[in-house]
């Protein structure tokens, strides 16, 4: 890796136009300047293109999640910010400064790994102090900051312990302390919770979010777990096959998925194919199964257009509560979740609908007849290409 560019140096003007605009942007640190900015990033391993045309700008102090199935390129993007992966096209800017050619050890980013990656031969203090040591922080200052960081992750007094003496959750806290103690410009978290058991995971979720808020650090979080993404993020970037599907707040991506992929990946929405049978303000869609439902549509659609009605399991009403857009079917399976139940309902035509409904009265059993309904406003319409009609 080239070692010639110091952080303070002006970026090499290899692509003249791009460099000029970068220099212009890097001139002053404005209030609205993004903490991290990607401009048309391409990343390829040999012939395999892992990421193409990725652009994103991340506001200072925000918590952004890259969400997607494994192999969608989210970890590759994270590693490219860190400098562990070379980009083959585009630019990455941190605080307005181009970092493509800056080696990883000069980028000033905090990195938390899925496997913690605590140095096994160093105790907790030396692990956390590692980044400070390489920033020439005086010893007493190091001791103070390490103490503070351990306080923050609620493991004070653990300085002398070795990583092998800590549980998984504790190790991840130390890894977090190590990554934030030197006040990096960005904190990168690469599936930090996936190695923990379910209880620990939920606790750490809250903890990480709390620490991020307290420190005001810009955080980029990578996960394939939609619950983590929805509960922690200010913004979610849903990715698939190396490209962005949708960027938005958790509510936006969940309630108004931009594509069929997003609708399916977040919360396993029901997708009912159909044809517009009556256009107007509230259009009527005849489903492939034969029933006709009324749905709200943001713009008029021609009769005969093919659409997909996306319905969240939680938005369906079940039984007597189903008054509008009533569909009748039979229960294929029922899972009791305490407060609510998840039904899989066969509405005919080999179409199964999932409904997550609060329990009123008793839980229906397999084979029983059931009615479901939904409000015309409570669904999203996708066009033939799987894109949201807006």
């Amino acid at each position: 890796m080239p070692d010639r560019n110091d952080l303070s140096e002006v970026p090499r003007p290899e692509a003249a136009g791009a460099a000029r605009s970068a220099a212009a942007l890097g001139g002053g640190i404005g209030a609205g300047q993004p903490a991290v900015e990607f401009r048309d990033i391409d990343i390829a391993y040999g012939k395999f293109v892992a990421v193409r045309d990725f652009s994103l700008s991340i506001a200072k102090g925000s918590f952004v999640t890259l969400l997607g199935p494994s192999g969608c390129g989210k970890t590759t993007i994270l590693r490219s910010i860190a400098g562990l992966v070379d980009i083959s096209g585009g630019q990455i800017m941190i605080d307005g400064r181009r970092v493509d050619d800056v080696p990883i050890y000069r980028r000033n980013i905090g990195l938390v790994f899925q496997s913690y990656a605590l140095f096994p031969h160093k105790n907790v203090f030396d692990n956390v102090a590692f980044g400070l040591k390489y920033r020439n922080v005086p010893k007493p200052e190091i001791a103070r900051k390490v103490g503070q960081a351990l306080e923050m992750v609620r493991l004070p007094g653990s300085e002398k312990k070795l990583p092998s003496q800590l549980s998984g959750g504790q190790q991840q806290r130390i890894a977090l302390a190590r990554a934030i103690v030197f006040e990096p410009q960005v904190l990168l978290l690469d599936e930090p919770l996936s190695a923990l058991d379910a209880n620990m995971r939920e606790e750490m979720r809250v903890e990480i979010k709390k620490i991020q808020k307290e420190t005001g650090i810009t955080a980029i979080f990578v996960t394939h777990d939609q619950e983590e993404a929805l509960s922690m993020s200010d913004r979610i970037v849903v990715m698939n096959a190396g490209a962005v599907e949708q960027i938005g707040t958790p509510q936006e991506v969940y309630e108004t998925p931009a594509t069929a992929f997003v609708a399916d990946f977040l919360g396993k929405a029901n997708m009912l194919a159909g044809t517009v049978s009556r256009s107007g303000q509230a259009i009527a869609v005849t489903l492939a199964t034969g029933q006709t439902v009324e749905v709200a549509c943001p713009r008029p659609l021609a009769q005969g257009s093919k659409v997909t009605v996306v319905l969240r399991p939680q938005k369906l009403s079940v039984g007597t509560a189903a008054s509008i857009n009533r569909l009748s079917g039979r229960v294929v399976s029922a899972s009791y979740l305490g407060g609510s139940a998840i039904y899989e309902i066969d509405i005919g035509g080999k179409t199964i609908i999932r409904a997550n409904a609060p329990i009123t009265g008793r839980v229906l059993r397999e084979g029983e007849a059931i009615d479901i309904g939904f409000d015309p406003e409570d669904c999203v319409l996708l066009d033939e290409d799987g894109r949201r009609i807006s």
Binding site: P103, Y105, N108, G110, F113, F119, Y134, G169, M200
Partner: protein
């Protein structure tokens, strides 16, 4: 029926025990005999013992050629261990951590000297030296020993290197350590058991080596094993038993000592078992 099977089992165990004991006797009897006979008072290196004596050790201490050979072997082994370990660590780091053209070829070439019969290697190097019209020097001997030991050190360090996850180095880099610092502070300490093990093995390989040394040593220079060989040509003196005992002590004792040090080091680190999370 049951009783018979039990009976068979007992006999099987007895037979296994017998064979095992025989194998061990066969393995260790020569060593034990050498050590015991080195304390024999008799002029002739054989049983029965005529009495306990340290005279052969005393004689050995006064035998200047033997002492010279010992010194020669010792420093050749030390140089070999040092150079081989450094080379081996760097080589295995490159082989495990980087992708480059000819990597497969290099990794095969590096261990090749361990597969080629030593005599062939000995003759080969000798022929090469003659072909380019160079004299046999100490440098050649040392280089030859390095050639013999490098494959083993590479194999040992490579195995350990594979086990050191790259993510540790990535973590160090992300925290601001340069590539060299992260190697020195993270990779090397984690590699230490293999480094020590490799160094000890290289030392013994060099200290022990007979056949290749016979080809490569300059005129008038003897290493311990070649010295023993030339002493045997004259007579089977009990002095050789004493010398053999010293050899055994060095070649077995040093690795054993190293192993013990290593063990106590790792034990120190794992004093406490990892604790369970209290919830």
């Amino acid at each position: 029926m049951k009783a018979r099977r039990k009976e068979e089992g007992r006999w099987a165990w007895r037979l296994t025990g017998f064979v095992t004991v025989c194998v061990y006797i066969f393995m260790f009897a020569p060593i034990v005999a050498t050590v015991i006979l080195s304390f024999n008072a008799s002029m002739f290196g054989g049983f029965p013992m005529t009495g306990f004596s340290l005279q052969w050790y005393v004689k050995l201490m006064a035998n200047e050629p033997v002492l010279a050979a010992f010194r020669t072997s010792l420093w050749i082994a030390l140089v070999t261990a040092a150079v081989t370990t450094a080379t081996g660590v760097v080589t295995s780091f490159a082989l495990v951590r980087f992708e480059f053209r000819g990597k497969q070829a290099l990794s095969t070439l590096v261990i090749l000297p361990a597969l080629v019969p030593e005599t062939i290697l000995g003759v080969g190097l000798l022929v090469l030296i003659k072909a380019v019209d160079q004299p046999r020097t100490m440098l050649l001997l040392v280089l030859g020993h390095i050639l013999l030991a490098v494959p083993y050190v590479v194999l040992i360090t490579q195995a350990r290197m594979v086990g050191i996850r790259r993510v540790y180095e990535e973590a160090a880099l992300s925290l601001g350590a340069s590539r060299f610092s992260s190697f020195r502070e993270i990779t090397l300490p984690l590699l230490i058991p293999a480094v020590i093990g490799g160094a000890l093995l290289a030392f013994t390989i060099s200290f022990d080596n007979t056949s290749a040394s016979l080809f490569w040593r300059p005129a008038g220079v003897e290493t311990m094993p070649t010295q023993i060989l030339s002493m045997l040509k004259i007579s089977i003196s009990p002095e050789i038993n004493a010398l053999g005992t010293v050899m055994i002590l060095v070649t077995v004792g040093i690795p054993l000592l190293g192993g013990l040090i290593l063990q106590s080091l790792t034990r120190l680190k794992r004093r406490d078992e990892p604790k369970e999370e209290a919830r």
